[in-house]
Amino acid sequence: MAKKRSNAPAVHPAFADVPHEPGAPKPDPVVVAHGILRKFGGLTAVDVDHLEIQRNAITALIGPNGAGKSTLFNLLTGFDRPQNGAWEFNGHSLSSRSPAQVARAGMVRTFQLTKALSRMTVLENMRLGAAGQRGENIFAALLQPLWGAQEEAHTERALALLERFKLLEKKDDYAGELSGGQRKLLEMARALMSEPEIVMLDEPMAGVNPALTESLLDHIVQLRDEGVTVLFVEHDMHMVRRISDWVVVMAEGRIIAEGPPHSVMSNPAVQDAYLGAHHDTDLSEGQ
């Protein structure tokens, strides 16, 4: 059931005492990053002194094109290596871990260009997402009784998730036959199969049919309500304003502002960063 969202700029209780500045410490951070530097040749893509992500809240990462948001995403999830920097997840260092290790630790991500596996069915995609599968061991794989029960349990959870995301009737279709928006939903549902602690969504709204955006938003809010932390990169300011509890703004690789949505949008430094880069984004709407 979708939770009713208030349109008034109320601040999430956890952020009540957090100062509105870049690198602000959070009361209960699930991810803490420090001194991250990523250069490509002579170009500095990411230069973040300090960043903390609050547990069990929805944090948005915004900024004009080329600000380094996706690069930071890739760095935190192990898909890229920085020249410098360290970050922790629940106190454990993830700095030089591979993407698979990061995912197994409980930090799962989706991709800007959806990576739903088109040549597998929707249900198979979901089953792939489950963690700790005994049947993934080559020797155990040969003896079905060894992994049969687990597979059934995973399948049940998959079906429940598919129902929640309204994809149940597509379960036997090849993922390649779904629409773009449905594939996004599938990727999100699949990411939840391993019951992660934090879900990192890379532009979840990109290319999605406006009719589906509402239900996507609902799903994300539901995630937070169930205790999952959400960090997402977005260009869609409506979405950012509607559901995020906290916003981090990047420009030219650095974090230039942090705060609840309304205060960040009216921050002159933020508006400056967007001028000329994304002038079709009307930040003042809804003031």
């Binding site: 698979a100 990576k115 597998m120 049947g135 597979e151």
Partner: protein
């Protein structure tokens, strides 16, 4: 009429079985996992040398087979270690180079006492232990229109054993492909990063596939050697490309594709050569020339297959194993 019977006999000959086994190995590499192994003959050759040399040194059959499998596994580890982290075409180049190195090392005069260098190892040096296990009498035995020997070389016994191995491997492939392990590989085949983001160690899975497929390839080599001889030039690049053709014809990523492709193609090739032999006089097309024509035919088939029907006979277009 004899030609037709001989052609039918090709359908179930031990040679066809050997190639079917090798093709199943390649199916694990390419059909299941999307690995571009262009040096499969190298695995076959290692299997053949391993078995023959071990047998000559006195090892019993089971040990010789284990040695040939271990050799292939080691080779796979060595190949995979530098390349599985790189782009697909690097694996193609490395496997083709490595297979060629195996062939050249097999041919070198320096190792002549072990490998027989450029003449290879003749059958009678290593076939005896296997032939001794045959329950059939040591003579030609006719069964219907077909006649094979009971024990020697391409015998009824070898036919039985090698096709049983094919059947076993088909079951193995079927079991693996529908298991969670197989599912991860199918995911890797399409998009490695997606699979990584779901917590799977992609490198480890690819290596497992490389080792398994390589070992199966080695079994194909052993099977071939038991029916013919161990000769480095008979397991070179043309052999690798032949196995690719067989796999693609039958249908990569399908369970019965490798066996079907082997049977169909090799029987057809035999028929074409036979027809050329019988109906075309020797001064227009001699026997060696017929061989080259049939190999050219392999090449053209491969081209046509991949352009017009890459999923082969049994493959599913939607699940095409070939990434653009």
């Amino acid at each position: 009429m004899d030609l037709l019977i001989d052609t039918l006999q090709q359908l179930f000959s031990p040679l066809t079985a050997a190639f079917a086994i090798a093709a199943i190995g390649l199916n694990v590499h390419f059909g299941l996992t999307g690995l571009l192994n262009m040096g499969h003959a190298g695995f076959m050759l290692i299997g053949a040398y391993g078995y023959a040399i071990a047998t000559i040194q006195g090892a019993p059959i089971w040990l010789a087979v284990i040695i040939s499998l271990a050799g292939a596994g080691l080779f796979a580890l060595l190949l995979g270690w530098p390349t599985l982290k790189l782009r697909g075409d690097y694996l193609a180049i490395v496997t083709i180079a490595a297979a060629e190195m195996v062939r050249l090392v097999g041919r070198t005069q320096a190792l002549e006492p072990w490998t027989g260098a450029s003449t290879g190892i003749t059958g009678k040096e290593y076939k005896e232990p296997f032939e001794a296990t045959s329950p059939f009498p040591e003579r030609l035995i006719p069964v219907g229109p077909f006649e094979l020997h009971g024990t020697a070389s391409s015998s009824w016994w070898l036919t039985l054993v090698s096709w049983s191995v094919v059947a076993l491997l088909i079951v193995l492939y079927w079991l693996l492909q529908r298991s969670p392990w197989g599912r991860v590989l199918r995911g890797i085949r399409e998009d490695e990063d997606a699979v990584r983001s779901l917590g799977k160690n992609v490198y480890s899975f690819k290596m497992q596939a490389l080792v398994l497929g390589g070992m199966i390839g080695a079994l194909g080599g052993v099977s071939y050697a038991l029916g013919a001889q161990v000769h480095p030039d008979s397991m070179g690049r043309p052999t690798t490309f032949l196995i690719w053709t067989l796999l693609l014809l039958g249908g990569a990523a399908s369970v019965f594709g490798p066996a079907l492709g082997s049977m169909l193609f090799l029987a057809t090739q035999f028929l074409v050569k036979g027809v050329l032999d019988v109906f075309v006089p020797d001064d227009i097309v001699s026997a060696p020339q017929a061989e080259t024509i049939s190999l050219a035919f392999v090449g053209i088939t491969l081209m046509l297959l991949i352009i017009f029907r890459p999923q082969g006979i049994l493959g599913k277009r939607r699940e095409l194993a070939i990434n653009g």
